[in-house]
């Protein structure tokens, strides 16, 4: 129980900033991000890795942070939705989601953006099948996914052309 829990030191780099904290070993990565360091853009939707609202990038790969312990990423580099904007300028992927109405309530959007970013990093010209495959672990209850597909395609096009 809580009184006997020994804290563990971790060093985790989030959006380029190093955080050194002593944390409970049971602290979930998503809790570390949202509560310990206060970046609340990453959301929790299902607690079981189904919905992907908690998707972030750890060392270059998209992962679902609601079922990873923070101690598991000690020493890693993490990118969250807050790291997409740079110097007040939006990333083309963010712009594409807005312009193509790829979000409504916005709750799934951070996870959707991170999975899409990982997809586009890997494959700059995905077809609809590739998009469906790579976003199958991200649930959106508002958009019916049509405009998410459109958003990712538009972002891919913009990124290729720029």
């Amino acid at each position: 129980m809580s009184e006997s829990i020994q804290l563990v030191p971790v060093s985790i780099t989030v959006n380029g900033k190093l955080y050194q904290q002593e944390i409970e070993p049971r602290l979930l990565l998503v809790e570390f991000i949202r509560e310990t360091i206060g970046l609340t853009g990453t959301h929790i939707g299902c607690d079981t890795s189904y919905c992907g609202a908690c998707t972030i990038i750890v060392d270059g790969d998209p992962v679902k942070s609601c079922t990873l312990l923070a101690v598991q990423v000690d020493g890693s580099e993490v990118l969250t939705v807050e790291g997409l904007e740079q110097d007040g300028e939006l990333h083309p992927l963010q712009q594409a989601f807005s312009q193509n109405h790829g979000l409504q309530c916005g709750y799934c959007t951070p996870g959707m953006l991170m999975s899409s970013l990982a997809l586009l990093a890997e494959n700059p010209d995905p077809d609809i099948k590739d998009i469906r495959k790579r976003l199958a672990g991200n649930v959106c209850r508002c958009t019916g996914y049509q405009n998410i597909i459109k958003s990712v395609q538009a972002a891919a096009k913009n990124l290729r052309e720029d």
């Binding site: 109405h101 409504q104 508002c142």
Partner: protein, 1020 residues
């Protein structure tokens, strides 16, 4: 459900030795922590018995463990398969070995895939369980591989461990010969597929992934106009959802919930929980009953007698019924503490089906004396005469609309603060002002003591109306904890048990009268709604369906006996398409079944029955404002390529394939007349509807708007700014609309909210009315300042920003100057202008009359948006899986204010309907156990299941709204209609009549193979 784990550890043994142990099933298998016994099937496969326990449920499972891959001395991989507790699992575990300083670094990965009921039994705790078991396995492995173990030092200790002593014998008995065997066996696999990259390659891959992410981040950026006003914060992670609100000193509430569907609470012991450091207090039902009033019941007696509190008192009525609240300094401590609460129950028989509920043999709410919450007959025209004169009569014994939910991704949540000044602040995600009316009397506080506010809401779809009991409880918790903010965030498994699902409806003994041409002349039916354990917002659904009584059809003689019951399932809440959706699915089923029986094609029978003239008064007095059903069908046929699909269907049938084409016509009735609640309970003092908006030129001349709605993705900031900008001749960037709802903005009435498809009508009419009032005030000031006539003034942008000017001149006054006159420079104004505040409030009230309660007659809704869907579906008759081959939607919501937003709503509504039709259901077993305990079981529709939608739009403006717009957000659930129709068409030659709205492969299989009798009969 899939779970993956990985890790690494060091062993002071050479890699070769470690590999020898790991690659031998006979040595590896006994490491399983609950290992019982084993038999070797062959040299690579062991059959082992293990005990599996989750909580108090223990079962023995047989696992077939196979060494799938052995690459000496680098890698070993096992696959284990077995069945347990009405489920199946597969485990993959792999070990990669690296030499480090003479020892071995073991890098392991474990993956468990689980299917079946086991998931529901274990709920959200399964991952923790699996993780614990895997950790045990790895610990055993470490111990077993340690040099001490090898040297026999652990022998004595091992003897007391049973399986461990056997393990030691296995490991260090004879292994030379076995090693050579495994080397031989693996020499073949070295050449075959390698499943994981070499560790060095893996590192390189990781570096490559990181580099790719860096590259895509460091691209050229440029400014671009965004789609909606809401988007900037939501795409940058700056939205503010309830759980994002983390005020200092917050406490956290977790709930002990009932494991039983129906039981008496014999005793509760919270002492151990309260003794846990960090726990502030607990609350039980007894305290709640002493300190609060039961929630107001909407229904008449006897259901008005139901005593519903925010915690179960004396008895639990559904699995997940909250029993005890624990408030602690952190959510982890609260979660620990709820495990320490001891509750003794005496179980009671569970009432699960409508049929059982109606028998009243077991009654959920003794104070009401019956499970029936409401019953009434809706009868119009001369039904008997129409049946006597009918050319055809068709009987349908039972149709069933299942329980499902739109499952907003953000669950119910609240941060409640009941401070020592006796004021309560709710930062929450409710969606209407009704909670104030529920919470105020329960807590015995005035409305003005309650501040209700929302910011961003992660979807609601009606469900979050059901949040008020939790809000009440969190407020009590805050008061008991001395006034600190108390946060409660529902977990997904709590939502699956009790978060507010759409209700289930059964349609019994339906009889349809038709004339010789297949035009329906009369309908008789008995409908029973199941609202779960507590009525809450019900029994309003018992009247709301009648907004669309004849659906899209012109029949005039109707008799529907409608009733509702409580059952031992989680309480329902409105769900997108609330109450009308099940009814329209029923009417569409009736249409298709009649077409099927009379051999009239689905399109033709609809065209013969559609309402043609508008405005149209339905048999129960509702007025359909405008529309064109044949036009919708024509367009939808064009969009999908109807003739082409007819040809393809013929070919498919010739090849023996089951391809079906289905049509769904639906209505989205918006802006309700609250007087309809009097049809349920004549004593309810509610009628009409109103929505409020306020607008002001703020102190510096900026335009600030607030609305009375609770947006959750519908883009109200965007559309409200459009209406204002259009009136003022400005760009929407200059109009600032407050986010979310706040009672302190004073822009609400008792019926404000985001529900019943109405913002485009009520919300925007209120905004429009407010901006017109503001313009009048601005004109008065401008006319004074410019020495001009008010009628000669116009609004627009001038050199000094937004201004009011004399038409056709550059003589104008800008907003800053106007705001200054009204706010800071009153003495400069003549007496009659000094009251102008440039801060106005407008209440929009639709013109509704009170209905005739006795006759159940009157106009219940202001607008009717329409959609027509066509689905092409192929059914695989081996797997019963349905594949959507093509899908078209044509919508008509009158004048469209924002096409992008309207289309987004249509897509979203379609996804909910398709999910519900083919995937999503909330099933229960006969004891009332929730069988979809997580998203893994419930399977909300994903991008992979969602077909490409072909959409088109028509506009028949509403004559009843200032803009011609109609509310359209709920959509009307046409995919449920269209998919049922398409499945029936696909299975036409098998004599199948689709009787259920949910048609997952399993449901379809059970339905088709379980039917003994024909459920439909043509009796004339």
């Amino acid at each position: 459900m899939e779970m993956k784990f990985d890790g690494e550890f060091m062993i002071d043994l050479p890699r070769k030795e470690v590999f020898e142990i790991l690659s031998d099933p006979e040595k590896f298998a006994p490491l399983f922590p609950t290992f019982h016994s084993m038999e070797m099937k062959d040299e690579r496969t062991a059959n082992l018995k293990v005990k599996v326990g989750i909580g108090k449920i223990i079962a023995t499972s047989t696992t077939e463990l196979t060494l799938e891959e052995a690459i000496p001395p680098l890698r070993a991989r096992y696959v284990g398969k077995g069945n347990v507790m009405q489920g199946a699992y597969q485990m993959n575990s792999s070990f990669n070995l690296e030499e480090v300083d003479g020892g071995t670094l073991v890098k392991w990965q474990g993956e468990t895939i689980l299917v079946g009921k086991i998931l529901s039994i274990a709920g959200g705790g399964l991952r923790g369980y699996a993780e614990k078991e895997i950790n045990k396995l790895i610990t055993s492995l470490q111990e077993a591989l340690s040099p001490e173990a090898q040297a026999g030092k652990l022998q004595a200790q091992a003897q007391s461990k049973g399986w461990f002593s056997r393990l030691i014998q296995f490991l260090f008995g004879t292994n030379k010969q076995e090693t050579s065997t495994s080397e031989k066996a693996s020499s073949a696999t070295v050449e075959s597929v390698s499943y994981a990259p070499h560790p060095a390659d893996a590192l390189a891959l990781k570096q490559e992934s990181k580099q790719k992410i860096n590259d895509i981040l460091n691209v050229k950026r440029s400014e671009k106009k965004l789609g909606r006003k809401e988007d900037k914060r939501l795409i940058t992670g700056q939205g503010l959802f309830v759980d994002d609100y983390q005020p200092g000193g917050s406490l956290h509430m977790c709930l002990v919930r009932s494991p039983y569907a129906h039981a008496k609470i014999l005793s509760i012991d919270v002492s151990k929980a309260e003794a846990l450091p960090g726990v502030i207090c607990t609350i039980t039902g007894k305290e709640v009953a002493e300190q609060t009033q039961p929630f107001t019941q909407i229904g008449p007696e006897p259901s008005a007698l139901i005593q519903d509190f925010c915690l179960a008192v004396n008895k639990v009525r559904h699995q997940g019924d909250p029993v005890v609240a624990v408030i602690a300094e952190s959510k982890h401590i609260a979660a620990d503490a709820i495990q320490l609460v001891e509750v003794n129950y005496e179980t009671l028989p569970a009432v699960i089906s409508c049929e059982d509920a109606q028998k009243d043999e077991t009654v959920l709410h003794e104070e009401a004396g019956t499970n029936q919450t409401w019953q009434g007959v809706y009868e119009y025209g001369d039904v008997d005469k129409a049946f006597n004169e009918a050319a055809h009569v068709i009987k349908i014994d039972h149709l069933k609309f299942h329980r499902f939910s739109s499952t907003p991704l953000e669950s119910n949540a609240v941060v409640a603060t009941w401070d020592k000044r006796n004021e309560i602040d709710f930062f929450c995600n409710t969606i209407m002002t009704v909670p104030i009316a529920m919470i105020g009397p329960a807590l015995n506080v005035r409305s003005d003591q309650i501040r209700l506010r929302t910011h961003d809401i992660g979807g609601a779809f009606g469900n979050k109306i059901g949040n008020y009991p939790y809000m009440t409880l969190a407020a009590l918790a805050s008061r008991k904890a001395g006034g600190a903010p108390v946060k409660w965030v529902e977990t997904r498994s709590e939502y699956m048990q009790a978060g507010g699902h759409g209700s289930e409806r059964n349609f019994y003994d339906t009889e349809v009268a038709l004339d010789k041409d297949g035009v329906i002349t009369a309908l008789r039916s008995r409908h029973v709604d199941d609202c779960g354990a507590y009525p809450r917002y019900e029994p309003l659904g018992c009247v709301i369906w009648s907004q669309v009584l004849p659906a899209s059809y012109k029949l005039r003689n109707v008799c529907i006996n409608f009733s509702q019951v409580v059952t031992n399932k989680g309480p329902c809440a409105p769900n997108r398409g609330y109450s009308r959706l099940p009814h329209m699915w029923f009417m569409e089923r009736v249409m298709d079944i009649c077409g099927h029986e009379l051999d009239i094609p689905a399109d033709e029978i609809r065209l013969r029955n559609y309402i043609e003239e508008f405005p149209y008064t339905t048999p129960n007095g509702c007025v359909y404002d405008s529309g064109d059903f044949p036009g919708l069908m024509k367009k939808a046929k064009e969009v999908i390529g109807w003739d082409d699909w007819q040809e393809k269907q013929k070919q498919a049938r010739a090849e023996g394939r089951c391809l079906g084409i289905g049509i769904g016509t639906t209505l989205d009735s918006g802006t309700n007349n609250f007087a309809q609640s009097q049809i349920i309970n004549p004593f309810l003092p509610f009628s009409s509807n109103s929505q409020v908006a306020t607008i002001k030129l703020d102190l510096d001349g900026s335009i600030s708007v607030s609305v009375g709605s609770f947006p959750q993705g519908q883009g109200h900031e965007t559309t409200a700014s459009q209406v204002v900008a259009e009136e003022l001749g400005l760009d929407t960037d200059l109009v600032h609309v407050k986010t979310g709802f706040d009672t302190e903005r004073n822009s609400h009435s008792g019926t404000c909210g985001t529900y019943a498809s109405q913002f485009a009508v009520t919300g925007l009419s209120a905004v429009h009315g407010a901006v017109v009032k503001l313009k009048n005030e601005m004109k008065k000031l401008a006319a004074h300042s410019l020495e001009a006539n008010e009628d000669d003034l116009e609004f627009g942008i001038g050199e000094q920003g937004p201004e009011v000017r004399v038409v056709g001149t550059d003589k104008g006054i800008n907003y800053w100057a106007l705001a200054n006159m009204a706010n800071y420079n009153k003495a400069s104004l003549p007496e009659e202008l000094r009251e102008i505040s440039l801060n106005v409030r407008h209440t929009f009230v639709p013109s509704f009359e009170a209905p005739d309660v006795e006759k159940k007659y009157g106009n219940l809704t202001l607008t009717y948006a329409m959609q027509l869907h066509i689905a092409v579906v192929e059914v695989d008759t081996e797997t019963y899986k349905s594949k959507i081959l093509d899908y078209a939607i044509v919508d008509d919501c009158g004048k469209v204010i924002n096409h992008m937003i309207v289309q987004g709503q249509i897509h979203g509504g379609a996804a909910h309907g398709l999910g519900a039709a083919l995937l999503e259901i909330m099933p229960f077993d006969k004891e009332g156990n929730v069988l979809a305990g997580s998203f893994t079981d419930y399977a909300p529709i994903t991008i992979n299941n969602m077909p490409d939608l072909k959409t088109a739009n028509m506009e028949t403006p509403s004559p009843f709204t200032y803009s011609g717009a109609k509310g359209m957000g709920e959509g009307g659930g046409a995919p449920l209609h269209a998919i049922s129709a398409a499945l029936q068409d696909a299975l036409y030659d098998k004599g199948i009549v689709i009787q259920q709205a949910h048609n997952s492969p399993m449901a379809l299989y059970e339905f088709i193979n379980g039917k003994k009798q024909k459920p439909v009969s043509l009796i004339r």
